[in-house]
Symmetry: C2
Subunit: 232 residues, 2 copies
Amino acid sequence: MDPVRILEIKESVFENNDRAAQALRQELKSKGIFLLNLMSSPGSGKTTTLKATIAALSGRRKIGVMEADIDSDVDARAIAETGARVIQLHTGGMCHLDAGMTRQGLEGLEAGEEDLVILENVGNLVCPAEFDTGAVKNAMILSVPEGHDKPLKYPLMFQISDVVLINKIDVLPYFDFDMDACREYIHMRNPKAKIFPICAKTGEGIDAWADWLDREVEAWKSGHGYRKGAKL
Amino acid sequence: MDPVRILEIKESVFENNDRAAQALRQELKSKGIFLLNLMSSPGSGKTTTLKATIAALSGRRKIGVMEADIDSDVDARAIAETGARVIQLHTGGMCHLDAGMTRQGLEGLEAGEEDLVILENVGNLVCPAEFDTGAVKNAMILSVPEGHDKPLKYPLMFQISDVVLINKIDVLPYFDFDMDACREYIHMRNPKAKIFPICAKTGEGIDAWADWLDREVEAWKSGHGYRKGAKL
């Protein structure tokens, strides 16, 4: 397989995205695939975090990655270096992915053998939050240089995220970032949100996050029959 | 005037945004108001850059500011400290501003005496690029921590921006940011784009950018009759 395969995905025609997302989630469940939707602003470190996560789960989970971008294959090439199965999705200018577009990506990836497929959504703190992709969990990254006030300004993204990774903590000394205030603002939007401070570049905090993700994958798969290796 | 006045703006009903934007631009021209549309990712430093720009143009230009956000009045409060006339626009979840929404903001601001009105758009590198707000010039900020590859991934934003401010150059030593590659990628998208490396926090590079803006305001106003102080 060409490691930088690019798939041009089309805007969905589903009238009811929530229903399409629910159907996709059920289908993934039956196949034992855990889909994680990873969101953030542009440049907060999604791809670097993904690389570190793949390394941390190496030997434990078979991982596939869908890299959604408006243009370029920069991210897919970076992920291909890890050896993970990857596909670059081009959204044709679209600012988010919905369940139908995610399904096109999964079909393009030929997901089936994977325990865990991670969708790197388009870098955007607004629109992706409005569309259920069919993922089991939503994760988002907020990086230190962006500032601790973001939960105040982008409420929905924090509200729908099960996990918030606070990335680039290595540069905390150089920015006015108040970690306590950030935690407070995040929990104001979503009291149940898990928060992991990390540095994807140095690996700090990655194990705690990867262990959490691993447990979630296990919980999703355990106690339910599924056909291992069935293609979507 | 309450310095943190908040206006809930409504989605526009215009069928043809380009036409509405052109009409707004003409109207602003007749009133001698230069409208700048400032865009970026969340957390790249739009508000800090605005504060530094207002300080640099102090005594030269009468400035009004419209702070667009989905929620909070954090930014409007920060701008109010500069003494500039400011209004906080809440977009009701919308990810961008179009010409009709911008007009609502200008009316709420009661713009009329200003030489220069700056719209701080919603933090988003995708959707705001698709809607002409009626601004005379589009400026965008790319901050160093976001990475130099952003023009590859968000082509339209760079294509429609007359100016790119590369902010947070004080932290260049701590990030893998290739300034030459960044310039090359920006000019690949828009060969005419002006590029100003700045640090809004320390003030580095702000004078060059403010002088450019001042000249643009002058060029827009010069040689054309306008009714000073006419309300929009």
